[in-house]
Point group: C2
Chain length 209, copies 2
């Protein structure tokens, strides 16, 4: 029996089928991060795994099913990446530094993931099947940004001058530019990103005090 539904069973211990799905998603992700959504064929994906191309349809009902599973899985983990920084910081500067450092690291290390994410998000305006997942992941990232920024404001003893969607869109704009620039010059892109976010962060606080 093929496993088709993408259940939210994070509480259920992963059975054999679920583990296979993850394995396949992992391989698929390698290809997707390098080639993008449109240029990744199921055969190429399977070839980068230890399975044949037919097995994909045994565990996933669809190409879209596979890709949304990938994006959801990886980006969900991604949205928790700053939690430790938020918990550890005791001063605004400390939080900002940790935020910038982590951001710069993921820009380089998870380049494929970010490329795939911006690709899929752009595709979602053409393909309604992707829309729900994109909205969901975008919500996760917005919350992540908000956790960082509201803690930042709290440590600074100020209030935030923007709401959560605005804050996310602003920071994400900087990050996306860095992802694109990374394709040509990763080192410069990272340096520019951290510098630009560093100058932007204080602007998001009300001028209070």
């Amino acid at each position: 029996m093929a496993v088709t539904a993408l259940e939210d069973g994070a509480t259920v211990p992963p059975g054999k089928a679920d583990r296979r799905r993850l394995e396949l998603a992992e391989s698929a992700f390698k290809t997707l991060g390098e080639m993008g959504y449109a240029r990744s064929s199921l055969r190429e994906i399977a070839q980068n795994s230890e399975f044949s191309h037919g097995v994909v349809h045994y565990y996933f009902s669809d190409k879209t099913d596979l890709i949304t599973f990938c994006v959801r899985h990886y980006k969900t983990a991604c949205s928790r990446r700053y939690d430790a920084v938020v918990d550890a910081a005791t001063t605004p500067a400390e939080l900002a530094d940790g935020f910038l450092a982590t951001m710069g690291t993921t820009l380089v290390e998870d380049a494929g993931l970010h490329r795939l994410w911006y690709d899929v998000r752009a595709q979602s305006v053409f393909e309604p099947a992707l829309r729900e997942d994109v909205v969901h992941v975008d919500g996760l990232l917005e919350q992540m940004t908000w956790r960082v920024l509201s803690r930042y404001a709290e440590l600074a003893g100020r209030a935030l001058a923007v709401d959560a969607p605005t804050a996310y869109a602003l920071v994400d704009g900087l990050f996306e530019q860095a992802v694109i620039a990374s394709a040509s010059d990763p080192t410069a892109a990272r340096a520019n990103l951290t510098a630009r976010v560093a100058t932007t962060l204080p602007l998001l606080l009300t001028p209070g005090r």
Copy 2:
């Protein structure tokens, strides 16, 4: 003889071949804006025009050639859309209002163009052939943003707290979120966009005075 080169001859009066190229680009653009880069086949593009699919290769050397021509052509015009507003405004509020209004209008009216642009930009990290054009257009948009914002600051008698690439990335982040949200609810997307840009603009000025 097929016309293959995309010359920068904006000074040269467009010959017959150049006019055909524009005609084809216009039809292609209709399809591209609806279906996106990957899902638009040359046959579909030709079917939405009054020509057969073979003629595309007579005027364009490549599918990439056609698409980059489209993006360059339309986005170049787009990058001049705020010039009138900048020239007319005499107060910061007036400039901001005009900027927001024009932005909201293009968000709705040129939805296809913006979708295609964000699609192509995302693809550029996977396809080096697109990179040069993406960088070029991104530069145009950055300059456009900078013209608006520096005039805004001038009228306000303040300085800008961010440089041009940062300013562009921030505003573009807001705009892209609006383009994505437009796919589900255009009216709400436009309202949110104008509200968010309105709250963001003042933050980009130094707190001076």
